[in-house]
Amino acid sequence: MKRIWITGDALVTPLGFSSGENFASLLQGKSGLKQIALPVSGFSTWASFLSESQLKMLEEMTLPVFETRFEKLLFLPLKQVIEECDIDAKSSKTLFMFATTKGNIELIGNENVKTEQLSLFVSASKISRHFGNPNKPLVVSNACISGLAVQITAMKFLENGQYDTVIIAGADTVNPFILEGFNSLLALSPDPCRPFDRDRQGINIGEGGAAMVLSTIIPENGRNHLIEIKGSAITNDANHISGPSRTGLELAKAAELAMNQSGLLPGDIDFVSAHGTATLYNDEMEAKALTLSGLSKKPTHSLKGYLGHTLGVAGLIESIICIHSLRNNVIVASKGFENAGTLDQLNIITQNQYQPVSACIKTMAGFGGCNAAVCFSKS
């Protein structure tokens, strides 16, 4: 297998407009969650969304050609990584890939909007063209695992040597379509969400944008602090279209395959960045899966209590936090957890844990019964 390094990353969320700012906010225990009443049903929930002043800032830092919140959230982190990280975006050996579930869905229902404006591919190619990339971009839309599935697909194109760098961006937004949809499934929590806790009541939705650069070339400035994406896997429950597996066997299989491909044993993993959506069923299934994988004793967090569930970009955002944990030797605490609330008990950490960390695993599950796991480690 080729070695693949993460040579750049950027985040734009309610907790900050760079990866560093986001990581610092998480260590300080800040949350982007705010109370919000749903526009149609009136249901009261919490969500992590950009404030008026942040939206103004986003507007000023992007270009008018990227009209929607979604496109701005894709563009800004991309601009940051490309400018800061010495990446040749115009090279034919560079591919742009995107992760999102719903793209410009905030525009749906508006009479003046053309169908084309709702197309995920149209947004993607508008952005990759802006950066002068000659290749056709690729969008991965695999429900809530999109942010990991995009990295897993990128690895395939790097592995076969067709490209030496893949620039990944992802975004999803908080909007009436998504909020009312999750509310119709009775999946939203009326309070700030509590992943893995006894009293968890459901999901909080979040928005954000992320960019990550995967490359088989080590940048000029050396291999210090470089993190590798070591192995990954996707599986399907083949059980139910929206409910997770009853046994957790399939997510456990994804974790096992990802560790195998990485050449890592459960004993080598220093922490688990779980999905932890705070729904009854997801957290229960994940606890079963992590137990089956031999990872239940590992320090584990869910970041949903800080940033909500950012859907198609959650896998990217949470992976970038993993990468900063590896660089800084600190594991971010899980927010919203007090009492164990799953049959199989996990080691959910409630304080930031400063310790040497050399490898971690990021797990996710999504509608359509899909599961994904990715392992990161220090070089």
Partner: protein, 203 residues
Amino acid sequence: MEKRITGYCQLKNGKLFLNGKSLFEADIPVDEFLQKIVAEFEVKHPRFGKMDRLSKLGYTCAEILLKSLGNFKQYQPYEVSLVFANASSSLDTDFRFQKTLESIASPALFVYTLPNLVLAEICIKNGFKGENLFLVSDVPEANLFFEIINQMFAQNTTKACLAGWVEILGENYNCTLFAVEMPKDNSENQIEFNITNINKLFE
């Protein structure tokens, strides 16, 4: 053993083709067209009526193809992977769900506002637990399928793959699926797995 395309199926413009042979033709709206095919070819599913149109289209095409491929039953659950793509994601259903927001949001429709649900329906019916990917592009890209499928076979557990294009928006639809395996013996429908041949399937 080499990878081969062991079968392919297409539902497009009121026509059903299996391994290049025309099996059914009717110039009728897509919903009716699918109903007729489901009845004619005994495509069964207890929840078929509840699926969205993208899932109905992809599921029907997959079932007809899989029925013609006796060998697919021999694989273990994690040995079968799926990679599908389209241009419009789940937009056909997104519009339908959006309309329900004017009265009561429909949870049954909201679940299908993700394109990978068609993969889930095929996986649930057939017990496939391997890798699954849903990609969005403007047109079917043979190169993309070729590279991804090659890597799927090279890594992890994949021994067979169901792949293709499943697109629907209003009355415009096109589902073209193909199976890739490493067969021990050659049979009449097999063709070499390469970019030129994948491109021909999408014509």
